[in-house]
Amino acid sequence: MIGAVAGRFPVPVRRMAPARTLTVVVALTLAVLALLVIAVGTGDYPISPGDVVRTLLGQGDSATEFVVETLRLPRALTGILAGAALGAAGAIFQSIARNPLGSPDIIGFTAGSAAAAVFEITVIGGGTVAIAAGSTVGGLITALLVYGLAWRRGVSGYRLVLIGIGISAMLEATVNYLLTRGKIEDVQAASVWLTGSLNGRGWEHVWPTLVCLAVLFPLTTVLQRDLRMIEMGDEGAKALGVAVERSRLMNLLVGTLLTAVATAACGPVTFVALAAPQIARRLTAATGPGVMTAALTGAVLMLAGDVLAQRLFPSTPLPVGVLTGALGGLYLMWLLAQEARRNRA
């Protein structure tokens, strides 16, 4: 017979954040800083790590200062911010879709922004600002469209994913069509944008991104609590008092805005959104959306990708999207293989 009632057999419950998560967070932060120093120090004009740090602290000579502060630092910072935004967005979407393959793609944002940008580049011929603005607007409109079409007395994750797939496929076909009809120089420019690139990113990219993220990240942290509950099923969460539909909408909104900010900064580098949360989850072995660790992982992935992209083939610098795709894909494959080996009975 069950006899124990309140307090007779107290069970100690650990409530601090698991030690492992904290270790991982610290390690990732250090990695970001180390990569920042490397990113700023490598290039046609190499600067030693010591000099980098000195210059950042305001004690370098004017030539080094120019290279660091005008050319390399803003690019690296843009990479960090965009990577963090994408990592966080990916974590949110994967939590909502209850599926490790969730990403901003599911709400059609990526396809929408791509279609708008390619249209801008090949048909209208707009400049950088026009492209960034157009891609953001295109992405947001698509996300709204997908959400609206998926709404039928509430939005089920499954229906959202399906409709996102449908709309995305339509928009991708439009992109491919535009690519066949455009002039080759335009097509090449469009290709570069579509892959995601940090080339020529300056302070005019850093400041707006920083401001937006300063607003969005705290919001993300607050919304994450509800997200953890919704992972247990709509009904279980509702029973605990979570306003499920409203919470889901808010989270989708924030996730989409994070993606918009990153895309405006460097184009659609969505693989970071897909891989960063998965990698973070396996590093921390924690449950829950893990938005912050995903953000840090995203920053590492993006920065590492950019460093490699520039230095891999010294004569032909590649866009960062190529490397994040390759790195992320390879790492995910390795992780899957590892998991399988560990699970062998």
Partner: protein, 261 residues
């Protein structure tokens, strides 16, 4: 006195009406059990009472107020639900899952307090899952998992607790264990319990107030000892039987008629 009731409820899924013009009252301080054949609407009614479903017509009142007008967290502090099926997030430990039951009592400014700690401890002790605290929920057996979900609902510390088929998929020892625990919650802690049960004999043994449903309507309700007889069982379930007194508890025991040879 009653804290939870439904007035003239019409409940439907898409185009299919499950119950029409249903009035249901949960007596305060009772252990109410709801029985009926498959698809009679008992789970639907329970979920409407728990505000999971919005009634097409009619309303559910909690403490005299329409439940749909109360903030969800406020409802969650007064009324708990153990749903029929829930998803355990990947690799979550027992302790973490039970701790999530404290959500309605927490907020941005109130993160984790001694009260939360105590509630989780006693919930885990009551359901005897204390030694499973660090295990992953998806590694446990069906019976253990059900007890963990029950612990989570208990950690919510609500005076009203609704349970949707809590004993399905459990072996008989665990069924009795869960029901005994419910009885304890009812008698020792004074909670009001409403449970949908598929086993009529369990319902008679443990319930203090029985609601029998068929085709979306309440056929009979009251003290099981007074209302459960062979006639009622035949009317509700279409089953011919004899009703005797349970040798252990004296409550009605339904013995189905033997197959004619």
């Amino acid at each position: 006195m009653t804290r939870l009731l439904g007035e003239r409820l019409t409940l439907s899924y898409d185009d299919r009406t499950v119950a029409a013009d249903l009035d249901v009252t949960i007596p305060d301080g009772s252990f109410t059990v709801v029985v009926g054949p498959n698809a009679c609407g008992k789970s639907t009614m329970l979920r409407a009472l728990a505000r999971m479903i919005k009634p097409r017509q009619g309303q559910v009142l909690l403490d005299g107020q329409a439940i749909s007008s109360l903030p969800s967290k406020e409802v969650a502090r007064r009324l708990g639900l153990l749903p029929q099926s829930s998803i355990a997030p990947d690799a979550i430990t027992v302790a973490d899952l039970v701790a999530r039951g404290r959500y309605p009592h927490q907020g941005l400014l109130r993160q984790w307090s001694k009260d939360d700690e105590a509630a989780v401890s006693s919930a885990m002790a009551a359901t005897r899952v204390g030694d499973l605290a660090e295990r992953a929920v998806d590694e446990l057996s069906g019976g253990q998992r059900q007890r963990v979900w029950l612990a989570m609902a208990l950690a919510q510390e609500t005076p009203l607790l609704l349970l949707d088929e809590p004993t399905t998929f459990l072996d008989i020892t665990h069924q009795i264990e869960v029901l005994d625990l419910c009885a304890e919650l009812h008698e020792d802690q004074g909670r009001t319990l409403v449970a949908v049960l598929h086993d009529l004999n369990h319902a008679c043994r443990y319930g203090t107030h029985l609601i029998a449903m068929r085709d979306g309507a309440i056929v009979a309700e009251g003290d099981p000892q007074e209302i459960v007889d062979a006639e009622l069982v035949e009317a509700v379930f279409g089953l011919r039987c004899t009703v005797i007194a349970d040798p252990e508890t004296g409550t009605p025991l339904v013995v189905p008629a033997a197959r004619r040879r």
